[in-house]
Amino acid sequence: MLEQPAIEAKKVFKSFKTVQAVKGVDLQIERGHFVAILGPNGAGKTTLVEMIEGIQTPDSGEIKVLGKTWKNHSAELHREIGLCLQDTRFIDKLRVIETLRLFGSFYGLHNDRVEEVIDLVGLDEKRRAYVVNLSGGQKQRLAIGLSLLNKPAILLLDEPTTGLDPNARREIWAILNRMKEESNATLLLTTHYMEEAEQLCDYVIIMDQGIILKEGTKNELLGEKKSLDDLFIDLTGRHLNE
């Protein structure tokens, strides 16, 4: 029997009051692939990821994760998914190690996995620090660590490096590249940084105004273009960061 794709979306629409955020998106992401959804603010990236994550329901169309819909399978899917949101704040006066242990307990994990993760995200020296005292980059590394605790089959990262300085951003990329080498997880990343998409992902989906403009491997997309930004200008007449 053929293995189901990691993520599959068919003719997905989603509106909020007067805004149509996602307009008929079709998407298929195979297992083990690292995929970026690239687009400016308001492109519909976050809404699409929220539907994949199961916290929004499409107005029409269907989304399957590991071959299952969220309805009736939420408990199983939560075990298979790791999630990292843009600027999530954790409990300020909890230590790094305590936060990891708490989230580990949600998956029934023991402290040995927590130790592995604290090492993976390079927070060993900060294990006793309160979350509130971490820098922006360290907080985001903690967020990535929490999303990796359950060795997820699918990792969803919503703008994981937005607002971070270049050094902190490179540290996050290093963690994710290491994960790419060591596991068979699927990664879906939303970003408006071209460099991030280029660094981490082998497949890029370009979205704007709720639709997919173009998708493919970097080489397929770039063709004659120098960069993904050039391609985006070509497709929309605007820069990605506008």
Partner: protein, 353 residues
């Protein structure tokens, strides 16, 4: 997940919530230190002093010869010292408005005139004592006024009335701010959303918050009662089962209310408004600082239905009247039912993100 792992999850959630509270010094001060300081302040302020001082502004020109200080006394009512100060009418009026003086005295056509707010009981009493003194009767009580038999039984002082009230108010405030605001804050930080993206048992999360809050309320209340016993000698020989059950029922009612109030919004300012709209009317009307029988008769049946009134009246009857479990069974049952109802309604509409 095995039962052992589930128990570990609940244990870590409880530990996290507990650490979040105790590692914040401000929370400890406002939760424990502030009610004790308030009871100390109000206890001292409302304890009858053996010598009351009343200041009288005397408007010049004043023909009668007055000493600067006159003391009138009674063996039961204590003494009152009147301090007279001469000044202009304008100055006297300003100082009366500021509360520096209790009454203004002047003379017109040889007649004494007393100026004060006749609706103010303290000013009324001051006038009665003062006018009697000017009639040449330095004793406070008129002749044939009957005999005073001072009450010496415990529970009749203001502090005896106040401590059960502030204990009940502490439960309400702690649940409403600690639970409601805590949940709204966690939702606004996307922490709730992040947590429900895991297989965490949602009921454990709320249960852990409520458990920690009730535990903290228990410690806060225990310290408050201990302090009131040591500082003011309040009665602590009370029915412990009745006190514990009504305390738990009150906590449960306010925890349910807190979950309902915090069930939807992710905006802390809106949450602030909701919480204030609920706690302020109860704080004023439920007989915490003064008896709700000061309100009009038509309002009293409504006030008695408020959860804070039920809790405060129940706790007060245990401390002051020596009520047992049977006497407070009704508020215990109503508060428990109310908590169940509000908690169920809150869970039904609760938004995790």
């Amino acid at each position: 997940m095995s039962n052992r792992l589930r128990a570990r999850q609940l244990g870590l959630l409880i530990a996290s919530n507990f650490r979040e509270i105790v590692r914040e010094p401000g929370v400890l001060f406002w939760g424990i230190g502030f009610p004790i300081l308030m009871s100390l302040g109000l206890g001292i302020a409302f304890t009858k002093k053996p010598n009351e001082i009343r200041k009288i502004a005397v408007v010049t020109p004043f023909e009668m010869v007055l000493k600067d200080t006159v003391v009138v006394s009674d063996k039961h009512l204590g003494s009152t010292t009147f301090i007279f100060e001469k000044m202009s009418w304008d100055n006297a009026l300003v100082l009366l408005k500021r509360g520096n003086f209790n009454l203004i005295l002047d003379q017109k056509d040889g007649q004494l005139q007393y100026h004060f707010d006749p609706m103010n009981p303290d000013a009324q009493l001051c006038f009665l004592k003062l006018s009697r003194m000017f009639q040449g009767k330095p004793e406070i009580l008129p002749e044939n006024a009957g005999q005073i038999q001072p009450l010496t039984v415990s529970g009749t002082r203001y502090i005896d009335f106040f401590i059960p009230g502030i204990l009940s108010m502490g439960v309400m405030m702690s649940c409403m701010w600690g639970l409601s605001y805590g949940l709204i804050d966690k939702r606004s930080k996307k922490l709730l959303r992040r947590m429900v993206a895991t297989p965490m048992k949602k009921s454990y999360f709320l249960l852990s918050m409520i458990t920690v809050r009730i535990g903290m309320n228990f410690v806060e209340s225990l310290l408050l009662v201990l302090f009131a016993w040591l500082a003011f000698g309040i009665n602590i020989h009370v029915s412990l089962p009745a006190l514990l059950l009504i305390f738990m029922a009150g906590n449960f009612a306010f925890a349910g209310l807190a979950v309902l109030v915090s069930s939807r919004t992710a905006n802390t300012e809106v949450g602030n408004g909701f919480i204030n709209a609920i706690v302020f009317p109860m704080m004023i009307m439920s007989g915490i600082f003064f008896s709700y029988h000061n309100f009009p008769d038509w309002a009293i049946p409504v006030i008695k239905l408020l959860p804070l009134t039920m809790l405060a009246d129940g706790v007060r009857s245990i401390f002051i009247e020596g009520a047992g479990l049977f006497q407070v069974a009704q508020p215990i049952l109503i508060l428990t039912a109310l908590g169940t109802l509000l908690f169920s309604a809150g869970l039904k509409v609760f938004r995790w993100y």
